[in-house]
Symmetry: C2
Subunit: 195 residues, 2 copies
């Protein structure tokens, strides 16, 4: 039911990983997908070579409908990194990751899409902060420290509230589980007596 291809090697969001060179939500991917003389098809038909995945493929992989993806885009939750000249959406790896997050937040925390959008906006903000942090890394300490501190503190606050939220849910879930568990053990004990 879940995506089998769990390339779950997602690094910590705030980790300074230079490989992740994604700018802001500009989405200005070069629509020029020239046929360079290369391997013309990796292995899957639905996926463009380097242009990204088509919507149908993404939907199938994530177990949602194409309508859902377009809806998420309409709400500002998930924007494909690019489009073809003809206007087709092309999703890339980070878009898939984003979709995963959306689905997780929806299923796990039961958040509605608007709340998720806000949260993801915060998350995007964190990415921005990270970039900003890096860009101030070599600034003179006099002004740079102030900026860096502010950035980190904002990030910490964001994450703190998220964690708080999750902890609350975790605790309540655990309590509920314990309740059921106790009753189950009682049953089990009774069954034991019959042996």
């Amino acid at each position: 039911m879940s995506a089998p291809t769990t390339a779950n090697s997602s690094p910590s969001p705030l980790r300074a990983d230079p490989r992740h060179e994604r700018r802001a939500l500009d989405g200005s991917l070069p629509t020029d997908r020239g046929h360079s003389a290369g391997p013309r098809d990796g292995e899957s038909a639905g996926a463009g070579e380097d242009g990204g995945l088509r919507i149908g493929k993404v939907a199938a992989r994530a177990g949602v409908s194409t309508r859902t993806l377009r809806y998420y885009e309409e709400l500002g939750l998930l924007e494909p990194s690019g489009r073809t000249a003809g206007g087709e959406r092309r999703y890339q790896t980070q878009d898939l990751a984003q979709l995963e997050r959306i689905i997780e937040l929806k299923d796990l925390l039961g958040m509605n899409l608007e709340a998720i959008r806000e949260l993801l906006t915060s998350r995007a903000r964190l990415d921005e902060l990270r970039v900003a942090y890096k860009s101030h890394e070599d600034a003179p300490a006099t002004t740079g420290d102030t900026v860096r501190r502010a950035i980190l503190e904002e990030a910490l606050a964001l994450q703190g509230s998220l964690i708080e939220r999750m902890d609350s849910k975790l605790a309540r879930l655990a309590a509920y589980r314990a309740e059921i568990r106790a009753s189950a053990e009682h049953c089990a004990a009774l069954l034991q007596q019959l042996e």
Copy 2:
């Protein structure tokens, strides 16, 4: 499609008599039964002394609307233990507990009301099973054991599936938390460096 004439006074045939006292599950609301000399109003309004709580009070305590309570009743999720001669709903302690469960299941597990109804039906079934179990407690072991065993096994299966469900959710939630947590700690470390 759905007939508007919802038989509101249809006692669930499968429902055990709800008058017996529940013993697990607190369901303990501040039973301010003490009307000693002092601030006399306390909560005189809304709560009948022994007839149970009126719908408005129950709704307020649970943080839902009266409409919601009636809706839950319409769906067969929550039926007040009694009614007044005039037809007003009167909720008792076990009804409040039931409402709590509904809300928990909705919020925590993100279940829809239909699924909750099924689950609660199962739970009611468990209560029945317990009653049946007790009533067979002094039956001759030849036939009694068979019945008891079947009862307990059904109960165990029900609880097992519930726990499984919760565990899955717990694990995923914990994983998600860890992810956020790691990034937060990275932030904290960076902040530390600035000191």
